[in-house]
Amino acid sequence: MGPEELRAALAPALGPSLVGVEPFEGFAARVRFRREGATELFRAVHGLGNTHLSMVAGIDWVDHREVLYIVWSDAAKQYTLLSADLPADDPHIETASGVWPSANWHERETWELVDITFDHHPDLRHLLTPDGYEFRPLLRSFKIHEPEELEVKVRHV
């Protein structure tokens, strides 16, 4: 399924929230959308046979953040890339875990590392970092550095 067919299939359901469908190396197409139409897009893409969501990723572009969904269709044997731009001061988007249950953990990870909130997520807890970890390491503003000399105090109970 090429970009043009994909646009034709998605445009009626999405309307203005579909920003564009463009060719992209390695994928059937790259579908760019606005976060307002996220759930409709997920349903429509899932309905086109893309039953397997293989990853959710977030990228911090400093001025805005991008959230990526990569889905796979067993019939077409192709990946499709869905991406939405989110403003950096209020990065949130509707969860995809209602459509693809596999999005659950990927969204938890994206939330804790790239600080993108997923609305109506069933279980938005820390996954990789400890509970109560305040930093969002994969933001560009988070700098890694050589560890300082530190002394760990162990309290015996």
Binding site: T129, P130, F135, F142, E146, P147, L150, V152, V154, H156
Partner: protein, 209 residues
């Protein structure tokens, strides 16, 4: 004998049902079956018994013989049967497993991995220690009974390795628990691990109780 006052009360004969002197044969002592004079002694309560027995045993064996006789035996035993904790942190855990495999067979030296920290005396930190697992590592270390040793296997456990700059990694397990032997390598080969264990045996041999 002496006039000094005795703290302990003098033995008191309770039962005096001995046969009369005339019926007793010469030289025969009252044995089981016959009536025995009952001597009251101070009974030690069970809880006091163990320290008392330890003291009594300790006084039997002089400090010097403890050093020369018993110490070496336990030292020999301790260094020849090191049970490492069976756990895998990261990459080095695979080489740790390979060291117990058919080609290297760490059991030749009496090294048998046990899953419960209570039964271990050696913690081999085989991989990257993250801050999330740090307090669990300390708990495991605390759960091991004395005497216990720690081997930092690989660069990550020694100083953070390639992940030293990462936000979630402890730069060296010696920040958390005392380490006896460091093994370099990323990951160290099984031979290096065996060498580390033998180095630890050497350290224990030179150790004074």
């Amino acid at each position: 004998m002496s006039a000094s006052p005795s703290v302990r009360p003098a033995p008191v004969a309770r039962s005096m049902t001995l046969p009369p002197e005339s019926l007793r044969l010469e030289g025969e002592l009252p044995m089981a079956g016959a009536a025995v004079p009952f001597v009251e002694i101070e009974a030690l309560r069970a809880r006091e018994f163990i320290p008392a027995a330890k003291e009594a045993l300790g006084s039997l064996i002089s400090n010097r013989s403890r050093e020369t006789l018993i110490g070496p035996v336990f030292n020999w035993a301790g260094r020849n049967s090191l049970f490492p904790l069976h756990w895998g942190l990261a990459c080095c855990a695979i080489e740790f497993a390979a060291a117990f495999g058919a080609r290297w067979d760490a059991e030749r030296f009496g090294v048998v991995a046990r899953s419960s920290p209570r039964q271990c005396d050696l913690m081999i930190v085989n991989g990257t220690v993250t801050w999330k697992v740090a307090h669990k590592l300390i708990t495991l270390y605390e759960q091991m009974p004395e005497p216990k040793w720690v081997i930092a296997m690989g660069n990550c456990a020694t100083g953070g390795g390639p992940f030293r700059t990462a936000y979630s990694v402890v730069p060296g397990v010696d920040k958390l628990v005392p380490v006896d032997v460091y093994i370099a390598g990323c990951p160290p080969r099984p031979e290096a691990l065996l060498d580390g264990i033998l180095t630890l045996e050497k350290l224990i041999r030179e150790r004074k109780e």
